[in-house]
Amino acid sequence: MPVFQELPLLGTERINRAYLRISVMAPELAEKCRPGMFFELKAGLPSQTRRLFKPISVFEASEGKISFLIKVVGPGTRALAELKPGEPLLLLGPLGNSFHLVKGQNALLVSGGIGYPPLAWLKRVLEPHNRVILVHGGSCAEDLFPCDRGYTLDGSSGDRGLVTQDIMDIIKTENIDIVYSCGPLPMLKALQACVGDLPHYASLEAYMACGLGACHGCAVPVGEGWQRVCKDGPVFAASLIRWEEL
């Protein structure tokens, strides 16, 4: 059951140039978080009064603290970057479902861009019970974060190219049993093409308004009709997603 709260920002930290990491202390909320879940966030600044909340994945929830890793792309995320410690952060959540957890498997985690935070956390959660490989891609060095294999479009860090380019190889050589993914749609689509019949859980993105399942704004083609990323997702079994419509 999601909660709406206004909490003082604990800390804010610039990472690379375009990213920031922010956190709040919220033991009860942190308890409820699982990898894949997200919050609708908004900076408690006058400029944001009439603006929408923005969906942001939980990057880490431990010891009562919840933190988020955010890329500044537009007005909403820019305002989050302006928020100073002690100023109010508005949170609605935790929202959505979470990744299906397994044991004793070889798990491949594939993230692109701002798909990184939920998989980074998933990795830490899976690792005690599984062998986990996290590959991550972005457009330049700025977009790279700690992972087992990194890719950049411009080759400025890690391997040059797409995060999906070596997936077939990795699946074979590492004997992968299960795939988890989060990132931009074209990446997920290309990934699903490589994954074949392996179990694959993909976390999808969508523009959101309510975050609660009320407005049907975040619909994606899953199963027979549309499913709501905010309420039915964000994690879907990749086999149920109608990829050709994305």
Partner: protein
């Protein structure tokens, strides 16, 4: 004394704050108590299920929200069997069912189905959704069609019959008068304005359908002007909406002639908007020793 008591035709409301069709569902009651609201309005339903429009369906503009949901709904039958029982169990406030159709016959068949059910206090007849090719706006733009539809529906029900009007017409007052003459017992206005947004870098429309519905604070001045125009043209009560966020916004609409208001997009910038609005209104009225009816339609 409840300074906030109001009425929409046959419907007495303990709070003048209601919710805009399609923007709200009972999930919000996990965040606040339903008693803040005077009534609960459903998303628009249609006779057959509707899949809705492909994504992306939403985009936030400088002063509002664009949407193109495309009236996604499970259709009358599934709604009656799955949604209505849950709503009946949960709601302690009047239930208003919004519905639409692509022909007068379709509207009538939906009403027939709903009339057989208990626990429904009123209907909001959506003749104004701009997203769907055949439904909605075709009806909402022609006074003769609206009159005929209102007459047919009014003959079949004793429940509150609200007609929800589109702002995208030359003369909303004429449509309002046609609905009133046909037998609508109140009016809801406005539905969304036409709106669009394009990615200036690539030329791609931000939403899958080129022209979508525009709501939120940017449309408030339009909604207020049309509310006042209609208030001068009809005697039946008005449920006003369009960009209302705060209790001060709501007061403007009461002065202009609204008997109740609805919040839609406001929930997406403040999930507690309805609670705060109701409280702010009550405080204002108490401090000035006024009741809602002292100010409804008294703008000058």
């Amino acid at each position: 004394m409840n300074r906030l008591a109001t009425a929409l035709g046959r419907l007495r409301l303990k709070s003048p704050v209601t919710v805009a069709s399609g923007t709200f569902d009972t999930g919000y009651f996990e965040l606040f108590d339903q008693s803040a609201l005077g009534a609960y309005t459903t998303k628009t339903i249609t006779l057959a299920p509707k899949a809705g429009n492909p994504p992306p369906r939403l985009y936030e503009t400088e002063a509002g929200l664009l949407n193109s949901i495309g009236l996604q709904n499970p259709g009358l039958k599934a709604w009656l069997n799955e949604d209505l029982p849950l709503l009946r169990d949960l709601l302690q406030i009047p239930l208003i069912v919004s519905f639409s159709g692509s022909s007068e016959d379709e509207f009538l068949r939906v009403l027939d189905g709903l009339e057989l059910q208990e626990g429904i206090a009123g209907y909001e007849v959506n003749v104004s959704c701009p997203n769907v090719a055949k439904e909605g706006i075709a009806f909402g733009a022609d006074p003769d069609v609206v009159f005929s539809l209102a007459s047919s529906l009014a003959a079949l029900t004793r429940r509150e019959l609200i007609f929800k009007l589109s702002p995208n017409v030359t003369d909303i007052a004429a449509i309002a008068q046609a609905a009133e003459a046909g037998g609508a017992s109140s009016l809801a206005l406005i539905n969304t304005l036409y709106g669009s947004a394009i990615d200036w870098k690539t030329g791609r429309f931000r939403i899958s359908s080129f022209v979508c519905g525009y709501s939120g604070s940017g449309i408030k001045p339009v909604a207020l002007a049309l509310c006042h125009k209609v208030a001068l043209a009809v005697r039946i009560p008005i449920l006003a909406l369009g960009g209302i966020h705060s209790w001060q916004d709501a007061l403007e609409f009461f002065w202009a002639g609204a008997s109740a208001i609805a919040l839609g997009t406001a929930f997406y910038s403040d999930p507690l908007a309805a609670v705060k609005l109701r409280q702010g209104l009550e405080d204002f009225l108490r401090e000035n020793d006024l009741s809602l009816r002292d100010i409804i339609g008294k703008a000058r």
